[in-house]
C-alpha cells in the first residue's frame, strides 16, 4: 500500500502489480507447498534420521546408534544381500526385456492394417488389469498342478517348471506376468513412432536401405527420448515392484503360490524377496522401524542414482529438441 505514494507513479504501479501477482500466485501454489513440506520433505529427512537410530515405533526418543543399521545391513544380515541380489536380477532383466518387447509390439502395431485399433486395445488392455487381479490370474495359469500353461507344455512334450512354487522359476514367472502388462510402455513408443518424420524413411529407401536397416538407422534414433522416458519409468517400477512378489509368496501351494499361512515373505526360499518386500517385512512384521528406514534410505539412494545416470545418458544421446 505504501508503494502508492512513491515519487515515480508509473514505476510504482507496475511494481505493485507485480507484487500483487506474486501474492496471487502464492495462493495458488500454497496447498502444494504445504503438502510438499508435510508429506515429502519432512518424511524424507526423518527417514534418514531414523536410519541412524534403533527406533521401534514405541520408545521415544529413539536411541541414536549412528551407523549400526548400515553396518548390520552390509556386514551381518544375509537376507539383505539376498534381497539385493534378487532386486538386481529383477531390475536388470525386467527393464530391458519389457523395453525391447514393447518396442517390437509398438513397431508391429504401427503398420497399416484392418482392425488396427482393436489390436492396439488388446495389447493395452492387460496393463489395465489391477496388480492383484493379474497376480491371481497368473497363479492360476502357472499352477504346476493342472494350470493351463503346464498342461499345454505337457501336451507338446516340454518340461513343466514349478513356476511360483519353485525357487528357480519364481522370478521368471514374475517376469512373464510383467511382460504381459507391457501396454503402457508400448503406448508411449507408439506415440513416438507416429512422430517420426516420413521423409526420412523415403530418403533412406532411396539410398537402398532395407526395412531392418531403416528401423535401426531412422526409427531408433528418433525414439531415443521415448526410450529413456520409458527406461526411467520402468526402472523405478522395477525397484518398487511390490504387490505381485508379496502375493505369490503369501498364496498357498494349492493355489500355485510359494507360501501359505506360516511361511515368511519372499517364499519359496526367499527367491521373491525383493528389497521392497524386505523393507515391508522389517517394518510391518518385525517392527524394526530404524532398520527399515536404513533399508529405505539405501533403496532411495540407488533409485535416484540410477535415475540420474539414465537421465544424463539420455540427454547426451537425444537430439537437442528441448525447445519444441
Amino acid at each position: 500500500m505504501t508503494d502508492a505514494r512513491r515519487p515515480a507513479p508509473h514505476l510504482g504501479r507496475t511494481r505493485r502489480r507485480r507484487n500483487r501477482e506474486r501474492v496471487v500466485a502464492l495462493c495458488f501454489v500454497l496447498p502444494w507447498l504445504i503438502g510438499l513440506a508435510t508429506f515429502y520433505i519432512y518424511p524424507l529427512v526423518m527417514t534418514v534420521f531414523y536410519s541412524l537410530t534403533d527406533f521401534d515405533g514405541i520408545t521415544f526418543p529413539p536411541k541414536f546408534t549412528l551407523f549400526d543399521n548400515f553396518h548390520e545391513m552390509f556386514f551381518v544380515d544375509p537376507r539383505f544381500w539376498h534381497a539385493v541380489r534378487n532386486t538386481a536380477w529383477w531390475v536388470s532383466l525386467s527393464v530391458p526385456t519389457i523395453l525391447l518387447l514393447s518396442f517390437i509390439a509398438a513397431l508391429l502395431l504401427n503398420q497399416r492394417m484392418r482392425g488396427l485399433s482393436i489390436l492396439r486395445m488388446s495389447v493395452y488392455l492387460p496393463s489395465m488389469v489391477p496388480a492383484v487381479g493379474a497376480t491371481l490370474l497368473f497363479l492360476w495359469i502357472l499352477n504346476p498342478n493342472g494350470g493351463v500353461l503346464n498342461s499345454l507344455l505337457g501336451r507338446v512334450g516340454l518340461g513343466q517348471p514349478g513356476w511360483f512354487t519353485s525357487p528357480e522359476w519364481a522370478k521368471p514367472a514374475l517376469l512373464l506376468q510383467a511382460v504381459w502388462a507391457l501396454g503402457t510402455t508400448m503406448i508411449v513408443f507408439l506415440a513416438a513412432l507416429q512422430q517420426v518424420d516420413g521423409s526420412l524413411y523415403e530418403a533412406a529407401e532411396m539410398d537402398g536401405a532395407g526395412s531392418l536397416r531403416r528401423t535401426w538407422h531412422v526409427t531408433l534414433p528418433s525414439c531415443v527420448p521415448a526410450i529413456f522416458f520409458n527406461a526411467v519409468i520402468a526402472m523405478v517400477a522395477a525397484f518398487t515392484y511390490f504387490a505381485p512378489p508379496l502375493i505369490v509368496s503369501s498364496a498357498p501351494p494349492g493355489l500355485g503360490g510359494g507360501g501359505g499361512v506360516n511361511t515368511s515373505v519372499g517364499a519359496p526360499a526367499d527367491s521373491t524377496l525383493l528389497l521392497s518386500v524386505y523393507i515391508y517385512d522389517q517394518f510391518f512384521s518385525e517392527f524394526r522401524f530404524g532398520y527399515a528406514a536404513a533399508l529405505s534410505t539405501f533403496l532411495a539412494v540407488v533409485v535416484v542414482a540410477v535415475g540420474a545416470l539414465l537421465y544424463l545418458i539420455g540427454r547426451r544421446l537425444a537430439p537437442s529438441e528441448d525447445e519444441s
Binding site: P31, Y42, L125, P130, V132, T240, V261
Partner: protein
C-alpha cells in the same frame, strides 16, 4: 504411402500376422479367466487341459457373494477411496499447475524441478515418518492416510496438468484479464473448461493408481471393515489354507472388472490424449 506400398508383400504379411499373434497372446489369459469363472470349479485345475467349460455355471460367483465375503462393502470402500482421492488430486494439483504454467513467482522453476524429481522417489523413503504422523493423528485403520495427502496435490498430476495448461493460447486469457477478470476467475472459467480431456485423463490415471496402490492399502487399511476389493482378495487367498479355486477365480474377475469398465468408458479421452496427440495430422 510410397514407403509402405514398395515393401514386399511377404514382409507385410509376416508383420501383420505377428501383430495379430501378439494381440491374441495378450487377450488369451483374460479370456481364460472369464471362461474359468463360468465353469464348474472341479475342472479348473486338471491335467487334461480344458479350454472350454464343460458345464456353464454361476456357482463360483455364488460362492464368492454368499461365502461370508462382504463384496459390496469392499466395493463401496474402493469406490469412496478412489473418488475422494481423485477429487482431491484434481483440485489441488490443478491449482498448483496453474501457478506453474501461467503465473510468475520467485523460485518457480526450482520448485517445479523439485516437484518433478519427486516422481522417481520410492514411497518407501517416506513411509515410516508418515506412518508415525498418521498414528499420532489416530488415522491408522482408516482411509484418511490414503486420501488427505493427495488433497494437497500430487507431483505427476501437477506435471501433466501444467503441460496441458501451457498449451492454451495466451490471447484467450489476456482478453479476460483486460476485462478485469481475476486470476481465479480465469482459472475456473477459462482454463479449466479448456482442459477437460486432460482433467478426465488425470482423474482416470489417479483412480487406476489408487486402485493399484496395494502398498498403501496393506499398510493403512488394517481393519476388515476398511478393506478395498484388492486387499480383500489378497486376504482371502492368504488366509484360506485349502481354498476353492473356483471362488478365487471368480474373485479375480470381481477385482479386475471395475478397471475394465473404467477402461471402456475412458476409451475416448485416452485415445485423444495418448494415441493421437503424437500424430502429425
Amino acid at each position: 504411402m510410397t514407403a509402405h506400398s514398395r515393401r514386399p508383400w511377404r514382409v507385410l504379411t509376416v508383420g501383420r500376422s505377428l501383430a495379430v499373434l501378439v494381440a491374441v497372446l495378450c487377450l488369451l489369459p483374460l479370456l481364460w479367466l472369464l471362461l474359468g469363472s463360468l465353469s464348474d470349479s472341479s475342472g479348473l485345475l486338471s491335467q487334461d487341459l480344458r479350454l472350454w467349460p464343460e458345464v456353464w455355471t454361476l456357482d463360483n460367483y455364488r460362492a464368492v457373494f454368499s461365502g461370508g465375503v462382504d463384496i459390496w462393502g469392499y466395493a463401496w470402500n474402493t469406490f469412496v477411496l478412489c473418488i475422494l482421492r481423485a477429487l482431491g488430486t484434481l483440485i489441488a494439483s490443478s491449482l498448483a499447475a496453474y501457478a506453474f504454467a501461467r503465473l510468475e513467482f520467485p523460485f518457480r522453476r526450482t520448485l517445479f524441478s523439485l516437484t518433478l524429481s519427486l516422481l522417481i522417489l520410492p514411497a518407501w523413503a517416506l513411509l515410516i515418518p508418515q506412518y508415525g504422523m498418521f498414528d499420532a493423528l489416530g488415522w491408522l485403520g482408516s482411509n484418511k492416510p490414503l486420501i488427505v495427502p493427495w488433497c494437497f496435490g500430487d507431483p505427476f498430476s501437477i506435471f501433466l496438468l501444467a503441460a496441458f495448461m501451457r498449451s492454451i493460447p495466451r490471447d484467450l486469457t489476456e482478453a479476460a484479464k483486460i476485462d478485469g477478470a481475476s486470476e481465479f476467475t480465469i482459472y475456473l472459467r477459462i482454463v479449466m473448461p479448456n482442459i477437460k480431456p486432460a482433467l478426465a485423463i488425470t482423474g482416470i490415471l489417479s483412480v487406476v493408481d489408487t486402485y493399484n496402490d496395494f502398498f498403501g492399502q496393506i499398510i493403512y487399511l488394517t481393519s476388515d471393515g476398511s478393506y478395498t476389493l484388492a486387499l480383500a482378495a489378497f486376504q482371502f487367498v492368504k488366509q484360506h489354507g485349502a481354498p476353492d479355486i473356483g471362488a478365487v477365480i471368480a474373485l479375480t474377475v470381481v477385482v479386475t472388472l471395475p478397471l475394465m469398465v473404467l477402461f471402456a468408458f475412458a476409451q475416448k479421452p485416452l485415445r485423444e490424449t495418448f494415441i493421437h496427440s503424437g500424430s502429425k495430422g
